[in-house]
């Protein structure tokens, strides 16, 4: 976390969730450092959910998209569900053109929607946020 520096990204704890915001364009090295720091924080904070806010990114190319997917996969292995929020309209379209369409990682409009999604999914299996979430299931 300290390696990344406060200017580029921030990782804040909110309840049992982590909210990671990218504040500016990151190069590949910075992106990998972000991945490393965030995955580490998931472990130390025992987070159950991660929201990655990419609203400040004006480009999400193949490397950036793959890194986000990788983070989500690593988070899943550590027991946390990830939702990516804030993808800008033009960035979303470019990602699709590039071939990085919606994959396994759920997405939501913004931070608020991301929280709603995680809250609705705490007990269910990870899925895509753009499909109707299952009704909340009670633990037996």
């Amino acid at each position: 976390m300290s390696d990344t520096g406060p200017a580029l990204v921030s990782i804040l704890r909110q309840g049992s969730y982590l909210v990671a915001s990218v504040h500016t364009a990151l190069d590949d090295t910075q992106m990998l450092r972000f991945q490393h720091d965030l995955v580490e924080r998931i472990g130390t904070d025992r987070a159950t959910g991660v929201i990655i806010d990419v609203a400040a990114l004006d480009v999400l190319d193949s490397f950036g998209s793959m890194t986000l997917r990788r983070i989500a996969e690593m988070a899943r292995l550590r027991g946390a569900e990830t939702v990516i929020v804030g993808i800008q309209p033009d960035v979303a379209f470019a990602m699709v053109r590039l071939g990085m369409g919606p994959g396994e990682v759920p997405t939501a409009l913004d931070l608020e929607e991301g929280l709603t999604y995680l809250n609705g999914h705490r007990d269910g299996q990870p899925g895509s946020a753009d499909r109707p979430p299952r009704r909340p299931q009670r633990r037996p």
Binding site: A25, L26, D27, D28, T29, Q30, D58, V59, L60, D61, S62, F63, M66, P89, D90, V91, F93, A94, M95, R97, L98, G99, M100
Partner: protein, 359 residues
């Protein structure tokens, strides 16, 4: 409707008649703009030459307007033309010379280098250049002496000056150029012709040849600087971001909608990453196009290992790094046109274009 003479045997005479007819007006137009009589005469000659070559395409009633327009164009071009500018300043070399007083020693060394460089030119080349630059003899009388045309002499002087600059720079180097390509590349840069530079693959040579990259530095500004183009050297991760920001800037300036600029920026990100991953270093050139219609062209090149099978690199899923194969095929989907040229051992060039309006 054309009332100009036909292109048969009488064409030559007709051309001469034309010269007589328009000579006064051309002299007047040029004279009003250029005070130096030698330079003015040069420009008048050049104008007449252009009119003669176009003679059979000009309508009789349009000859004078054509002559006036041509004369004005020739004068305007002159002001931009570095060769004439250099000639006016009675300097054969157009390199930036040190101006600080403490650089006197360096200046002395430079003069020695110029002498040596001149010595490397052929006898005739040297004589003409000195006659023109030092004695101020104009191209017309030089042409008369040589039994040639003023235009041909001017072109030769241009080449000689270009060579002189290169020889001068080479005398400053401890050793000879490492490859056979080096000297032609440096000459093309010195001459400033973009076309010649492109034909020779100058950009790629400079990427791979440290010697030329160093020697050519003072020559790099010789091609006309263009405002509508950005060149980003790519050597590391941070340059990928710089390259895509440059592309966004150029595209936005041209009037692309935001969605479109993001497509271009994303594609540039991919090709720039390709340079960093496979070649280590290279460059991305972003320029605007107006012909055949408005658009942005991106050239990404490196002098890296190249590819044995470029088609493979364009197939989805193919990648030798990071398990990620979307880079080049993805960039191709983002742009309207995409050409990949790669040779093992010589490097890779990707040229891609996005037009302002889709088909």
């Amino acid at each position: 409707m054309s009332s100009g003479p036909s292109v048969d045997g009488s064409a030559q005479n007709a051309g001469l008649e034309a010269v007589e007819r328009v000579l006064p007006v051309v002299r007047r137009v040029v004279g009003a703009r250029v005070s130096d009589p030698h330079l003015a005469e040069d420009l008048v000659q050049e104008t007449l030459l252009r009119i003669m070559t176009a003679w059979d395409r000009i309508e009789a009633s349009m000859v004078e307007p054509y002559a006036i327009a041509t004369a004005r164009n020739v004068v305007a071009t002159m002001w931009r033309d570095r060769d004439r500018e250099a000639r006016n300043r009675h300097r054969a070399l157009d390199l930036s010379t040190p101006e600080a007083p403490e650089d006197q020693v360096v200046l002395g060394e430079e003069q020695a280098a110029i002498c040596e460089a001149l010595g490397r030119l052929g006898e005739q080349e040297r004589t003409r250049l000195l006659a023109h630059e030092v004695s101020g003899q104009d191209t017309r009388s030089l042409a008369a002496e040589a039994g040639s045309s003023a235009g041909a002499v001017a072109a030769q002087l241009h080449r000689t000056r270009a060579r002189l600059r290169v020889e001068y720079l080479l005398t400053m180097e401890p050793g000879p150029p490492p490859t056979e390509d080096c000297r032609p590349v440096l000459l093309a840069l010195s001459g400033g012709s973009r076309r010649r530079q492109r034909d020779l693959g100058v950009g790629r040579h400079l990427l791979g040849c440290d010697f030329c990259a160093r020697v050519a530095e003072p020559l790099l500004g010789r091609a006309e600087a263009r405002e509508d183009e950005l060149r980003v050297p790519v050597q590391g991760d941070a340059d990928i971001v710089k390259a895509r920001q440059a592309a966004r800037e150029v595209a936005a300036k041209l009037g692309f909608a935001k969605t479109q600029t993001t497509l271009v920026a994303t594609a540039v990100s991919e090709v720039a990453r390709n340079i960093v991953r496979f070649a280590g270093r290279g460059e991305v050139l972003v320029e605007t196009l107006s012909e055949p219609r408005a658009g942005v062209r991106v050239v990404a090149r490196d002098a890296g290992p190249g590819m044995t099978n470029p088609q493979e690199a364009l197939a989805d899923g193919f990648s030798t790094y990071n398990g990620l194969g979307l880079g080049l095929p993805g960039a191709r989907r983002l742009m309207d046109e995409f050409v990949l040229v790669s040779e093992p051992g010589r490097g890779t060039t990707v040229t891609m274009t996005k037009w302002l309006e889709e088909d």
